[in-house]
Amino acid sequence: MLFEIILNGLLLGGLYTLMGTGFSLQWGISGIINLAYGGMMVLGGYIAFALHRLINVQPLVSIVPAAVILFFLGLLIYNYLLKPTIKKGSFFVTVIMTFAIELVLENFMLLMWASDYRIITSPYSSIAFNVLGFHLPLIKALIFTLSMLGVFAVYVFMNKTTTGKSIQASALNPAGARFIGINVEKMYMYNFGIGCAIAAVAGALASNINAFSVVLAGGLLGKVFIITILGGLGNIWGAALGGITLGLVESIGTIAVGPEYNEALGLIVMVVVLVFRPRGLIGKKFWDV
């Protein structure tokens, strides 16, 4: 029983890690609390859903087009809406701007797909196998593996490529980065786009196991907040720690106090962490404020 709960928590934590990574990058590096993140996740889910329905693309393959579309959408949003706002206003005006983007996105999705709950039923959704007497559906294992691969890809990109290193440099010391010829604004833009693409991938993956709808965007955003705060900002390890912690808290909480307290439990853990360790469990100081 305990093994089952922990395994479930870890599997969930894998997806949460991916979810948190994108948000954490946007917040920690581009300095944007992206309130449209939940909406972007749902949009990713809808893209996968539409591709599966209309031209019968394999649901797990459709994460690629979803990521590409959201990446370019992210670039456009950053360039035409967020960049001018950052130049003119304070940090919180930017937050309100992303909220306005969320309103527009949600309204668009509502018009396109209505608020009914959808789910993608993939051809392999009924396959399952046994691990030490535990019933493990193949699709959950696949989603976990793909999430981990995604996080790993982001890690490699950020640490081994010139662009990735430039993005990190722009966050660490914008003036110094400019000095050595890095176009900091452009790096922030790429970083924001990558964050949006990760949101789309996470949303498209999640739509295979959970029914989704526009009305869930707010709840998803709440989860992403918890993951990011728990772990720490701008740091993939932080997102991983936060994601797995939240996955475990939720799966243990569901058994211990019932599923209706899931959201509250996560939030309470987040607030406790904020009070005692404002920068998150393993966040570094220099990302702060």
């Binding site: 609390i33 959201e263 607030v271």
Partner: protein, 324 residues
């Protein structure tokens, strides 16, 4: 100097005229308009209390709606146990104050956006508790207030004046605060918290005190709202949208100005109502687009924008005169 004093006198006259108009209005308008203006007053109070934190102290309380919900729920629970409204409302203020002190002392140490996020977390956690503590709060069923035995026309007017009074109270408190010691303290914290502390300002005390004032006003607004609607539910009164739209109103009107948030509340609420009645399906999308346009083209708010416009015009006139 002379010109300034005339200007001040004339703006005072305008304010008095507006106030007189607001006192007469409910006797001229239909119920629909009275209710709309009452919601404007309510949002003005919430926006004013958010601006106290955001405009003067520099901390954005994204989750301030939690006190709105606490106020509404305290009033509802108290009244359904037979308390008079005023007592139930004061219990709400007390509960909000206690939560502010307990939670604010550690959390207000967090700078900038961490405080904003922590306050969102607080709202979510208390909302979930209210939703699940079915014995006390009725859970997802919500709370029904005792029926008010007045004709509906009278009810509209009573709540109109109640909210108007509350809004005037909020403005009064704002004016008193910025002229008092606490006002200087919180503005010094906004401009440089470390410097303020090193000069001996007890920053934690003043920050918590400001949040208590902001929370109390919001919770009274929540109590009056609950009594007015006569039914409340968690998704209704703990809705984070209330905070976010109020912040938007503050931005729209002008951050850190006395009348800005109120002007913003009026503009936003009326605009929202118009969009609601003409483009029901596109409502949130159009609101989003308007918000985007306001931020891009009027980033410092309507009031500040207008003031700058007039100031520039006055200055250029003066310049022309001196040239002559």
């Amino acid at each position: 100097m002379f010109l300034d004093s005339i200007k001040k006198k004339s703006s005072n006259t305008v304010l008095l005229l507006v106030l007189a108009a607001l006192l007469v209005l409910p006797f001229l308008l239909s119920g629909y308009w009275i209710r709309l203006i009452t919601t404007v007053f309510m949002f003005a109070v919430i926006a004013k209390s958010i601006d106290l934190m955001m405009g003067y102290l520099g901390y954005v309380p994204f989750g301030n709606v939690v006190f709105f919900g606490l106020g509404a729920y305290s009033a509802g629970i108290g009244m359904s146990h037979g308390m008079p409204f005023i007592v139930a409302m004061l219990i709400g203020v007390l509960v909000s104050t206690i939560i502010c002190i307990l939670f604010g002392t550690p959390v207000l140490r967090l700078r900038g956006h961490y405080f904003a996020v922590a306050s969102i977390g607080l709202n979510g956690a208390i909302m979930a508790i209210a939703l699940n503590a079915t014995g006390l709060t009725g859970g997802a069923m919500g709370i029904i207030f005792p029926v008010i035995s007045l004709p509906p026309d009278m009810i509209n007017k009573v709540f109109y004046f109640a909210m108007l009074l509350l809004m005037l109270l909020a403005i009064g408190i704002n004016v008193i605060i910025i002229r008092s010691r606490i006002g200087f303290a919180i503005r010094s914290i906004k401009s440089n918290e470390d410097a303020a502390r090193s000069l001996g300002v007890n920053t934690t005390f003043y920050k918590t005190a400001t949040w208590v004032i902001s929370a109390s006003l919001t919770s009274i607004a929540g109590a009056v709202y609950g009594y007015w609607m006569s039914y409340i539910s968690t998704v209704d009164v703990f809705n984070i949208m209330v905070s976010v739209t109020s912040i938007l109103m503050v931005l729209l009107g002008g951050v850190g100005t006395i009348l800005g948030p109120i002007l913003g509340a009026g503009i936003f609420q009326v605009l929202s109502e118009v969009i609601w009645s003409y483009f029901l399906e596109l409502h949130s999308g159009i609101l989003g687009i308007i918000t985007i346009l306001v931020i891009l083209f009027l980033p410092r708010g309507v009031l500040t924008g207008l003031r700058e416009l007039f100031l520039n015009r006055a200055l250029s006139k003066k310049a022309v005169k001196t040239n002559e």
